[in-house]
């Protein structure tokens, strides 16, 4: 009785939040879907009409689309690779006892708090700039030709910038997971004849599986929609060399004022994100089961 009662009460109390969230999510999605079937250009107001799948056709056959798709996947994959491998490495380092551990940990986590636009501008103007940048100065002091990072390897530069911002997140989560590893297990493995590499492969890494899954899932969600870093550094260029799906939609909607095609792009992005999510859950989701 009591449980039935509390269940009903719990539902009643949860419902405003759930309904609000539903509206919050459903209304924009529905409007995007609606716009994606309209011929709707802001330069020609009042001319909206139903066009069927024409917007989708335009978006998907746009020569920029396959490039943007490949860039999106490379951006996500590259950043994941750097943050997961680097995060495990950094977490193991930070897990060792050393003097000033607290301050070093705090500093290591700091990049995550810097806004994407700010960090991208700092990278662009103070580090990667071919004339004023730190990297150019280092190159020159060795007598080498400075690299113009953002124009000669734009996507790689953006991957570095984004990975720099996300590395602390991965490090933090992996570090907490490392700290929860029972030291008895490591000692038992040591007595069983496992060396440091074997202990890492057979004991530490499986223990980290769940934390790594969380890192990969969360990062993927956010990395599919990287935008600010691209806008303030390369503006998607040169050409389309660093345009991802999110930036392509932006150029459609706000540079070409084509709301219809941009909406179609948004729907395509949602579908792509779901495909990626299904693959990810299939591959690594079992790590989340207890």
């Amino acid at each position: 009785m009591a449980t039935l009662h509390t269940k009903a009460a719990a539902r009643a109390m949860m419902s405003p939040a759930v309904i609000l969230l539903l509206i919050w999510m459903a209304v924009p999605l529905a409007m995007t879907l609606y716009f994606s079937f309209l011929r709707y250009n802001l330069l020609m107001p009042g001319m909206e009409e139903y066009t069927g799948f024409l917007n989708y056709e335009f978006f998907l056959t746009d020569p920029a689309f396959p490039i943007a798709l490949a860039n999106t996947l490379m951006l996500v994959g590259g950043v994941l690779l750097i943050t997961v491998v680097g995060g495990v490495f950094l977490a193991i380092l930070l897990d060792q006892p050393f003097w000033g551990q607290g301050i070093v940990r705090l500093l290591a986590i700091a990049p995550f708090f810097v806004m994407p636009t700010v960090s991208a501008l700092v990278w662009k103007n103070m580090l990667m700039h071919p004339v004023n940048g730190l990297f150019a100065w280092i190159a020159r002091s060795f007598g080498a030709e400075p690299v113009d990072w953002l124009s000669s390897m734009p996507l790689f530069s953006i991957i570095i910038i984004v990975a720099w911002a996300w590395l602390p997140f991965a490090t933090l989560i992996i570090l907490t997971a490392l700290q929860s590893l029972d030291s008895d297990q490591k000692e038992a493995a040591e007595m069983d004849g496992a060396g440091p590499v074997s202990i890492f492969l057979h004991i530490t890494l499986p223990h980290l599986a769940r934390a790594l899954t969380v890192v990969i899932l969360i990062e993927t969600i956010f990395l599919l929609s990287v935008f600010a870093e691209i806008l303030v550094t390369t503006s998607g260029g040169p050409g389309n060399a660093s345009t991802n799906i999110a930036y392509l939609i932006y150029t459609q909607a706000l540079l070409q004022f084509d709301v219809g095609t941009a909406s179609a792009g948004g729907v395509v992005a949602v579908i792509l994100a779901n495909i990626v999510a299904i693959f990810l859950i299939r591959m690594i989701g079992k790590n989340l089961e207890t």
């Binding site: 029972d182 008895d184 297990q185 000692e187 038992a188 493995a189 040591e190 007595m191 069983d192 004849g193 496992a194 074997s198 057979h202 004991i203 499986p206 223990h207 599986a209 207890t290």
Partner: protein, 332 residues
């Protein structure tokens, strides 16, 4: 095979010295139990032998070879941890086979050895399960299985039964004793439970404050404790310690009488007292008696003995069963 010698072993953690020059001889095939109150250094001593801690001073010799600076894996010892320390992501079979895999043994040989160990330990039906799906006693057996497949020269047990419930503990105690009989390998067993020590050990090492108080067979320690601490620690319920006039009569600072060494009577006897609590177990009767001029005393009678709260009883320590201790706590 499994002879271990400790020579003046000292362990310091920073300033604090926790093991004060321990000398100990463990013969091949012996079942040695380290027993003592918590914080006495018994686990540290075991970890020193295992190689999980570095010795600050002194030598550890295993099979005639100086092992003081050998890494744990090369000492040919296997350890069973209090927390079992099973690898949670591996099946039971892979847990047991892990040390063999690390030794580079081929798959078929590992499989055969794991099957053999599982048979001894009744784990054959559980080989595919993960440790999380096993009961406490089964996990304990997996940990033992992981130890026996290596065929070590000695087994080290660090309070292996303290996470089990009472009934299971008695069972596992028997199983470990049987295992020792069949394998005839040296075993070193750490516990704070003197019942475990008395029932399993060939040789008990009583530790206190990082020093060995006494080494001997269970009955040697029971009959001839070297000092007050060992006398009080071995035996359950603990020995009654009496000071003052009664002790002076016997020419000692303290006299000790075990609860089972009293003759009880309703009519007459050496000590007269009032029963505080009477515990009737059927097989035994424990009386907590407030003896005049002596203080609280616990006495045990075999079988049933009529006594209730407030009754007057007489206790007479048995002839020749009274332990006498000098002012330094050593037995006289």
């Amino acid at each position: 095979m499994g002879a271990i010698t400790l020579e003046n072993v000292v362990k310091r953690f920073g300033e604090a010295q926790v093991i004060h020059g321990v000398d100990l001889e463990i013969k091949d095939g012996e079942f040695v139990v380290f027993v003592g109150p918590s914080g006495c250094g018994k686990s540290t001593l075991l970890r020193l032998i295992a190689g999980l801690e570095d010795v600050s001073d002194g030598r550890i010799v295993i099979d005639g070879q100086d092992a003081t600076d050998l890494p744990p894996a090369r000492r040919r010892l296997a350890m069973v941890f209090q927390s079992y320390a099973l690898y949670p992501h591996m099946s039971v079979a892979r847990n047991i086979g892990f040390p063999l895999k690390m030794a580079g043994m081929d798959k078929a040989a590992i499989e055969a050895k794991v099957q053999g160990a599982a048979k001894i330990l009744n784990l054959t039906d559980y080989l595919d399960r993960k440790p999380g799906q096993l009961s406490g006693g089964q996990r304990q057996r997996v940990a033992i299985g992981r130890a026996i497949v290596r065929e070590p020269s000695a087994f080290l047990f660090d309070e292996p039964l303290s996470n089990l419930d009472a009934a299971l503990r008695v069972n596992m105690r028997l199983e470990i004793s049987e295992l020792h009989q069949s394998l005839a390998t040296t075993m070193i067993y750490v516990t704070h439970d003197q019942v475990e020590a008395m029932t399993m050990a060939d040789k008990i090492v009583v530790l206190q404050g990082g020093k060995i108080e006494q080494v001997g067979s269970p009955l040697e320690l029971y009959r001839n404790p070297r000092n007050k601490f060992v006398a009080g620690f071995i035996g359950s319920p603990a020995m009654n310690m009496v000071e003052g006039a009664e002790a002076a009569k016997a020419g000692a600072t303290t006299i000790g009488v075990r609860p089972e060494h009293f003759v009880m009577s309703h009519e007459s006897g050496q000590w007269r007292g009032k029963v505080g609590v009477a515990e009737h177990l059927g097989s035994d009767t424990f009386l907590h008696v407030e003896v005049e001029g002596v203080g609280p005393v616990t006495a045990r009678a075999t079988g049933e003995f009529e006594a209730r709260h407030g009754d007057t009883v007489f206790l007479t320590p048995e002839e020749g069963r009274v332990y006498r201790f000098g002012p330094d706590g050593l037995a006289l």
